[in-house]
């Protein structure tokens, strides 16, 4: 659906050229929700603007539905842009127009008859849940409602692609959730391809199928969200993920030396990650039943990546070394990820 090949973007500035994008390759399939995450200044806003050519790349090729946008003149580009909706962090609504007029705006541009406009705008108002606000002005709406108008406006021209530029960054967490839910709904209902730019991993985790992590104008890492979440390769990716997942040891163990060698009376700390089906599997119970060990639950969460259940747990295991090793082998044969943190003394046991 969208294919970016070796996109480069350089800005001239008085202090020399600024390299915003340094060779980006990205393929986005039809119907996917693709997230692009990066810190501010990483180039993600420039990148999303290259998809609809609000920014012309210095070099490289942008293919949308097989058409090369980089080779088009302005008039042809305007036509293509009508099939690419875009929503913005600051909504960018016309303050002098009502909700209805804002949504009708792209239709007025193509001189659609008033009757048809009404037939289009009314269901869109329903879709975004603003039927009762049709004749209000943006200044009378909350941030979330403004973004709903933005979404309805972007959908008015029946686009195949929706670009979301930090669409939830100016909203509170509650509103963010409802806007993300709406984006997910329309992605499914309308089989829309969605590109999401964000600096929040939460957004990626909630709605995206795939993710690309962008840093200093290059893609540091990309893949399905599940892959990248469970097996991050780059420090920047780990940093983004760590915001969501607690990687710290429980307080009882913090500050103690972690040793990779067994110590008498110490706990073997394990970090377990369950994905999908395995999250329902009674692995721990099975392990305790089969081996003569004690298991202490230290930390656990059950979460979802898009709609895949995803659990994380830190457990401490004590017992005879042989039993522990066997239990470890047992775990490793299961459908889950096992990370050995190491052997640690517990604070309260050091005083004994």
């Amino acid at each position: 659906m969208i294919k970016l090949s070796h996109i480069e973007k350089t800005y001239e500035s008085p202090s020399g050229p600024v390299y915003a994008l340094k060779g980006i390759d990205l393929t986005i399939e039809r119907g996917e929700i693709y997230g692009i995450i990066g810190l501010s200044g990483a180039g993600k806003s420039t990148l999303i603007r290259c998809i609809n050519m609000l920014e012309r790349p210095t070099s490289g090729q942008v293919l949308v539905d097989g058409q090369d946008l980089t080779a088009m003149n302005e008039a042809d580009l305007r036509k293509v842009r009508k099939s690419i909706g875009m929503i913005f962090q600051h909504f960018n609504l016309l303050s002098s127009a009502t909700v209805y007029e804002n949504i009708a705006f792209p239709l007025r541009l193509v001189h659609m008859p008033e009757k048809q406009i009404k037939a289009k705008v009314t269901p869109l108002l329903e879709l975004v849940g603003l039927a009762d606000k049709a004749h209000q002005y943006p200044s009378q709406l909350s941030g979330g409602q403004k973004q709903r108008v933005g979404i309805a406006r972007a959908l008015a021209s029946d686009p195949k692609i929706l670009l979301c530029d930090e669409a939830t960054s100016a909203l509170d967490p509650q509103t963010t959730k409802s806007i993300l839910q709406l984006i997910r709904d329309i992605n499914q209902k309308l089989a829309l391809t969605v590109v999401v730019i964000t600096h929040e991993m939460q957004v990626i985790k909630d709605i995206c199928d795939k993710v690309a992590v962008i840093e200093n104008g290059v893609i540091a890492e990309k893949g399905t969200v599940l892959e990248v979440f469970t097996n991050p390769r780059q420090p920047i990716t780990r940093e983004f993920i760590s915001v969501l997942l607690s990687n710290e040891l429980p307080s009882a163990f913090r500050g103690n030396e972690v040793s990779q060698e067994p110590q008498p009376g110490s706990y073997l700390l394990l970090r377990l990650t369950f994905i999908g089906e395995s999250a329902d599997d009674p692995v721990i119970a099975g392990m305790i039943r089969q081996y003569d060990i004690e298991v202490t639950m230290l930390f656990g969460t059950l979460d979802q990546i898009k709609s895949t259940p995803y659990g994380r747990m830190i457990i401490g295991v004590t017992g005879q070394q042989e039993e522990i090793n066997r239990a470890l082998d047992y775990l490793k044969q299961r459908e889950l990820k096992v990370e050995v943190i190491g052997y640690v003394q517990r604070h309260d046991s050091t005083h004994q």
Partner: protein
């Protein structure tokens, strides 16, 4: 109060209103497109054209730096060419228009600059042409501010029209000078000043009201 005062003042008021109204209409018709061009041909704007922008800005700055009373006298040959005479109310409108067009241009440019760039970007992302952006985004969004700015222009036109009176343009300024000052009739001077104050207040009040009605924020 002398018997000739009422007809004198009402005639002068009529001339002032005529001068200001016609000059304003003509200057606005030319000034708004000028302001649009000043804004849209600037760097990173929808009709970016640096040479045109610099040229227009140069002419605007040149005219605006000439004091009105000098401009009025300096362009007498041009006025004569245009309306066949350099005296009279119609002749006075030529310098009034020439002085107001760049003023309006700059004011409109300032108003358009206040329109958030994101709104223009959103319109571009929907495939709007530059003309559509000007007509459907920039002008409607900037309208309350433009109205407020034009109010200021009208008020300064009232003042300039009084100066135009000094070269035989008629109007309240002419009346105040010829009767109030040169013929020692302070009652005419006072009446003229009061009428000018009321006129300016009315214009400002109407301007504020209109801008407020348009501003839906």
């Amino acid at each position: 109060m002398s018997s000739d005062m009422i007809p004198l003042i009402s005639k002068a008021l009529g001339e002032t209103v005529y001068m200001v109204a016609v000059s304003m209409v003509v200057a606005t018709i030319i000034g708004i497109p000028l302001g649009v061009l000043l804004h849209t041909t600037a760097k990173n704007q929808i009709l970016e054209c640096r040479a045109l922008n610099r040229g227009l800005a140069g002419v605007v700055n040149a005219i605006r730096s000439i004091p009105f009373i000098i401009l009025m006298v300096a362009i007498i040959p041009f006025t004569r060419l245009l309306v066949g005479s350099s005296i009279g109310t119609t002749a006075a409108m030529v310098p009034l228009i020439i002085a107001s067009v760049p003023f309006i241009g700059r004011q409109v440019e300032t108003s358009l600059k206040e329109v958030p760039e994101g709104i223009v970007e959103a319109a571009l992302s929907m495939g709007a042409t530059p003309l559509q952006i000007i007509r459907r985004v920039l002008l409607p969004e900037a309208m309350p501010s433009i109205i407020a700015q034009l109010t200021t222009v009208i008020i300064s036109l009232v003042g300039e029209s009084a100066m135009a009176g000094a070269i035989g343009g008629g109007g309240l300024g002419d009346l105040a000078i010829r009767y109030g000052y040169q013929r020692f009739r302070p009652e005419i001077m006072i009446a003229t000043v009061i009428i000018l104050i009321v006129l300016v207040q009315l214009v400002q009040f109407a301007g504020n009201l209109l801008a407020k009605r348009l501003r839906k924020q």
